[in-house]
């Protein structure tokens, strides 16, 4: 099985580990992630203004390419997923945006949200299946207590993201169980890590990350895992716990990646 894949800028530079282990693991599970040709930056933040058209166009281009290929579009970075998924919802629901985006890009077939946007975790859950995944685990992470850190972008706003229960998500915990680890539930797992404010106000960003990590540690977590490069950065800067990408854990469990946690 082959899916169109949108890696995003950060995965090509700072977050190569997220990308590499993600692809290799998926390959091992029988799914090829084929990078979209000529993708452009998703825009990194979703423009909340209804009249911002241009900044949403690169997401629409990616969506259109996936539609033309006839496969769902898989994303891995939380920010890319957020932007692309919301752009897809908007183009399906907001007539003004749809007609303006189509007028601007003038594709052969107008685009109105036909492509399906899947996060990597959704592919693991819904296509591979966590039961199936657990059967393929070679090095279970038995006994490791890991706090899943969701952050904001995967979950909210839930009406558009439709990813998981925004206040009580379970997908990462189910994933951790599947690879043999012991998930630790802690309330701050869906609170902000400090986001891009880290650029201007490091102190504040670090206090946010500390609040997240402290809560997880107090609930018994030995480490944290995330799907977002920015979250990882902030948690590494300000948090007291080791933080890794979930794809690294996956690759390790599948026996693709060597080394200790």
């Amino acid at each position: 099985m082959t899916y169109a894949y949108f890696p995003g800028c950060t995965l090509k530079t700072k977050a190569v580990d997220l990308d590499r282990w993600g692809r290799e693991s998926m390959e091992a599970l029988g799914i090829t992630l084929e990078e979209l040709p000529q993708w452009q930056c998703c825009g990194a933040v979703y423009p909340l203004a209804k009249d911002e058209i241009a900044s949403r166009l690169s997401a629409v281009r990616a969506l259109m390419a996936a539609r033309d290929q006839g496969t769902p579009l898989v994303t891995l970075c939380s920010a890319c997923h957020h932007v692309i998924k919301r752009a897809n919802c908007d183009i399906a629901e907001d007539e003004t945006f749809r007609s303006r985006a189509n007028a601007y890009l003038s594709p052969e077939t107008p685009y109105s949200g036909e492509a399906q946007v899947l996060h990597y975790l959704e592919v693991l859950r819904d296509v591979v299946g966590f039961d199936n995944l657990s059967r393929q685990v070679k090095n279970p992470l038995t006994g490791v207590k890991i706090g899943a850190y969701y952050g904001c972008l995967l979950l909210r706003p839930s009406r558009q993201m439709a990813f998981d229960d925004p206040e009580n998500p379970t997908i990462l915990e189910d994933f951790l169980r599947a690879i043999g680890a012991q998930p630790v539930i802690y309330a701050q797992r869906n609170e902000c890590c400090g986001g891009y404010v880290t650029l201007e106000n490091q102190g504040f960003a670090r206090s946010r990350a500390a609040a997240v990590a402290d809560n997880a540690a107090a609930q018994g977590a030995q480490m944290l895992t995330t799907a977002c490069p920015l979250c990882l950065y902030n948690l590494q800067q300000g948090g007291s716990l080791k933080t890794v990408y979930f794809t690294e854990l996956l690759a390790q469990a599948l026996g693709l990646k060597e080394g200790a946690l």
């Binding site: 909340l48 009249d51 979950l155 609170e191 902000c192 986001g195 891009y196």
Partner: protein, 128 residues
């Protein structure tokens, strides 16, 4: 004279009159201590036409866009969209960039992901 209040409502697609002043947005906000005005006030100020004050406030750049206020608002008001619209109103006004692209390099460090830089540019300046 621009009617910023209706402009902001238009850009954001938010109707501040839906707000029932419960304050859950402000209760949920992780950046509360960093702002002089708080999410529920943003909504109220747009409704009562005090947008210029809001535009002058530094707190609008501290909003993390974490959407906790959006998710938890019982009335579906979306305070963060208002904040974004106010930010845009400032940026679209001539010379209103909070950060100019040439200021950014000084703020960078080795480890910072691209995502942060792009986000910040988008949030802080016109056409990053």
């Amino acid at each position: 004279m621009t009617d910023w209040s209706s402009r902001v409502q238009e850009i954001s697609g938010v109707n501040p009159r839906k707000c029932m002043k419960c304050g859950k947005c402000t209760a949920a906000c992780p950046a509360y201590d960093q702002m002089e005005y708080h999410p529920h006030q943003f909504v109220d100020m747009v409704q009562t036409g005090r947008v210029e004050e809001l535009m002058a406030s530094k707190g609008i750049y501290t909003c993390l866009s974490c959407f906790a206020c959006v998710e938890r608002c019982p009335r579906n008001v979306q305070p963060s969209s208002i904040i974004e619209a106010v930010r845009l109103a400032v940026i679209r006004r001539q010379g209103g960039n909070h950060r100019k692209p040439d200021e950014i390099p000084a703020l960078l460090n080795e480890e910072l992901p691209q995502q942060a830089i792009t986000s910040a540019l988008r949030k802080y300046s016109k056409g990053g």
